[in-house]
Amino acid sequence: MLNRPLAAAAALALAAAAAGSAEAHRMWLHPSATVLSGEDPWVTVDAAISNDLFYFEHHPLRLDGLDVTGPGGASFQVENPATGRYRSTFDVNLTEPGTYRIAIASSGLMASYVEDGERRRWRGGPDSFAAEVPQDAQELQVTEMARRIETFATRGAPDDSALAATGRGLEMVPVSHPNDLFEGEEARFQLLLEGEPAAGVAVEIVPGGSRYRDQVGDWTVTTGEDGVFAATWPEPGMYWLEASVDDDNASFEGAARRRASYVATLEVLPQ
């Protein structure tokens, strides 16, 4: 993440490519379980970019920018990371009781300009921008990007110590706990943009298992003034949430646009 600028830049490159070429494609992390008991629980996670949820059928989601935050806010190592034709995968050993946030996050700048009559693109961090991008380039367009794709798993009792916002990009913090979701019950979450409540943001919610249905079954809710949105789960299963902001409130001087997106995979259990 932020302490790994190269990985972040690489993740950003992939994110930008995917966003540009195929808005319809969905990025996701899909955990093998979200509610665990026992003395030595493990979660294995699939990471992919696909149309249908949650099937690996298009591209793997690269693991650059992967960060697992465990109980108490500590960073946890993942094991057995691998990237195949259609998916990446890795394991997380939940060695401590509590909730884990498993995220792929990246942020940085994208620039587009014309040099010697040719369109050029650049991606990187704010620190290298001035040195690597000719500041007097023609048609220079700079966009600030932030992307976060995450899911959650809990060993034993859920807690919020791994769920604090980083203050960067678009993020979701719990009102309801993300590993305490049940069919027919309303859950509430808050979206934050750069650490502040993100009002009026549309959140698309898509149930998994689409291969065996005719209709997508998705719906959209909008955050209120306090950034909070609510969802009532019609049936148990895995759900995919996506929200994004595209405006001209970039914090980096020289960036005209800001794009921030957020994706979460949530498991809803039967009663």
Binding site: L36, G38, T154, L269
Partner: protein, 170 residues
């Protein structure tokens, strides 16, 4: 919540010495399946809003090496949500071994810590069973506490539980 071990045990086995008791009878059905494992069973008291008023018994694989039996406690997902996930199993007075097919009594004296702490009101006895490579079933039996008189209340499971009855003697 963690029960006081000795109090719970004493209550269960010295029932005749006390004024009243609750006896829960759980039938574990005999199933004709290729791979059979005894179900995990949790028995607890639910408040009217389905929060837990306390766990009475959990039958699971208590004796497995490295406490591996706790891995599947979450499969009793309603109990796990309502109380199990906050317990550090095994808990004396609550934990017990899995039971074979047949009818099993579990008796709880009126001064059992869970029952003794119940304010007068409406409750449900919840019995949840989950079986490895099998299904899961939850049965609720409503009751009023303290009881106005003796009574037996019965519900029947369809898959993982047979008849479940609760007899209250005030």
């Amino acid at each position: 919540m963690r029960l006081l071990a000795s109090a719970a045990l004493t209550g269960a086995f010295a029932a005749p010495a006390f004024a009243g008791q609750m006896t829960v009878n759980v039938e574990i059905p005999r199933l004709n399946v290729a791979e059979y494992h005894r179900p995990y069973v949790a028995i607890w008291v639910e408040n009217a809003d389905q929060t837990s008023a306390g766990t009475l018994a959990v039958w699971y694989d208590v004796a497995m090496a490295r406490a591996e039996g706790t891995t599947w406690l979450k499969d009793m997902r309603q109990w796990w949500r309502r109380e199990g996930r906050a317990l550090d199993m095994p808990v004396d007075g609550i934990s017990g071994a899995t039971r074979p097919p047949g009818r099993h009594d579990a008796a709880f004296a009126a001064d059992h810590p869970v029952l003794a702490a119940l304010p007068p009101g409406e409750y449900s006895l919840a019995v949840e069973a989950a079986r490895e490579v099998g299904g899961r079933e939850l049965i609720r039996i409503p009751f009023t506490w303290p009881p106005a008189g003796p009574g037996t209340f019965q519900e029947a499971g369809e898959h993982e539980l047979g008849a479940v009855s609760m007899t209250i003697e005030p």
